[in-house]
Symmetry: C2
Amino acid sequence: MERLRAPHSRRTPTIRDVARLAGVGVGTVSRVLNGSPAVSEETQSRVRGAIEALGYRRSAAARNLSLGTRAIGVVAPFFTSPSVVERVRGVSERLAGAGYDLMLFDVETPKQRRSALGDFARRVDGLIVISLPLSDDEVAGLRRDDQPVVLVDVSHPELPHVVIDNTRGGELATEHLIAKGHRRIGFLGDSTTNAFGFTSSELRRRGYRNALERHGIARDSDLELHGRFGRAEARALAHVILDSPEPPSAIFAASDMQAIGVLEAADALGLRVPDELAVVGFDDIEMAAALGLTTVRQPLHDTGLHGAELLLRAVERGDRRTVEELEPLALVERRTT
Amino acid sequence: MERLRAPHSRRTPTIRDVARLAGVGVGTVSRVLNGSPAVSEETQSRVRGAIEALGYRRSAAARNLSLGTRAIGVVAPFFTSPSVVERVRGVSERLAGAGYDLMLFDVETPKQRRSALGDFARRVDGLIVISLPLSDDEVAGLRRDDQPVVLVDVSHPELPHVVIDNTRGGELATEHLIAKGHRRIGFLGDSTTNAFGFTSSELRRRGYRNALERHGIARDSDLELHGRFGRAEARALAHVILDSPEPPSAIFAASDMQAIGVLEAADALGLRVPDELAVVGFDDIEMAAALGLTTVRQPLHDTGLHGAELLLRAVERGDRRTVEELEPLALVERRTT
DNA sequence: ATGAAAGCGCTAACAT
DNA sequence: ATGTTAGCGCTTTCAT
């Protein structure tokens, strides 16, 4: 069943077209393409001429199939956020060592989220999902394709994941503040109903409440602030509460970026830190050290490393056990408390 | 010429193996793999059974070839550095819109550099090189494969590139300081002989010198500091000079991260900013705004966007003109000057 | 040195 | 509903 073809076909030229035009075999074209020494000067230039004439360019996909190249996909929401970047770095490191390519998919909209978990997931040999809580449907979809997947910074009962004990982290931060003598402690975190279903912040708040309760401190819901994740929003929220009649003497922010927003607000209001306002963050991104921010450290980079490790195990050895890897937490005291 | 095959072959099972075991055609297997509705319950489960039994997993590479998926490679040194991340974000944005996948290659060692510009470059349909100055040999190699390439934040006469006028940027920063009344101005940048051949810092220093000269200020080489790029190193260097008998009253740092290091040093020494020490950075990363750092802004994100745009033009329309796209610069005055 | 041909493993059009 | 077959475009023996 011969398909009709226009006389001057516009389809992209293949290695075969080049071969034909140069009057050689495809093998020879492939050789010059790959710089094999075993091609005569003359043939070589004939081939190059044909390549030029046709505007030929080799298909990476075809080459990859032939060569058996493999790639891992990393999907992450807002991958420019420092914590995500550090995790990706860990993934990259492990993958490079194993000879896998890393395909990055940034999700910032619901639509992108769908592509990432749908089409994109099928274009790679394995998937690492960072900081994006998956719905049961999404997980089911991935399992149906039985695509190897590992989760980093989010958990799911049916998928291997590497996480931290967020609640415990919230306790750690709050207890530190309590030990410093604070009684009026604010919490600032992500809005409970965010577009991506982030939950870490909520768990950290739970830890915050646990700690207060354990120490007999009544909690005051006016002191619990929620906003769209990120620095700017945090600053705005903090500004309001710090400027109120009964401001907290300390604030625990659910992430370092939010803590930095709080610091900005304090600065704008002329509040001395830590004397007039103590601040604790979460994550320990590089900037936390630079700013002297007291924070709860989680091993961001290692988390990526371990996630990649788990995924490789699944991809290469078919190991599909749904382990939960729990990373350690530590309070790092610096100059904001 | 039938090749011998072990009875219990260990080669990874293909869709064909599954079809055979399930007693169906490959088309049917493909259908269940892709969730086509037109497959009877029974056949479906037979196929799933075979898949399970063989431990079959579909090859992403084969699928991509068949489907004509395309990918762009991004190679960047130390991609966790904030400025690089923002550029990558711009690239990602543009690529996503065009339906290309983004393959990320982080280079932190000479060996990785070689892989990135060699094998990796051939695994993608186009390459964006960020902040990594290429040697003529490297460029020649890329051109031989005639791989579409565009450079971002580095230039080369034979390749399209999007850059800024670093020298002018250095002048801008320095002139700002001079206008503020400073005469004893230090410069802090990357070591001139760094492993990756970074040159932006040197150009910015040239601008610094130009400005001094233009205003009749003698330059003092004791005030020119060079170290391995990054915050920590900058802090150490700044600490020394600020603690010396004749410290500068202002420092122009070749990047915001280095400027932050300077700020840390000032803080450690109890120097009030900007009264006792003025600081200007370069880049305008997000943290610069948060810290109130005066800096020379370059459009990091747009730079990635434009680079991707140029590359797509090369990949899709074969447009290989070696344009130079110059991005605008602006001094953003904040609270450190 | 180089041509011919056999994969690489999948998707999709076609036929039944 | 499902089997068959023709690509997808390259790399790599194997022969010559």
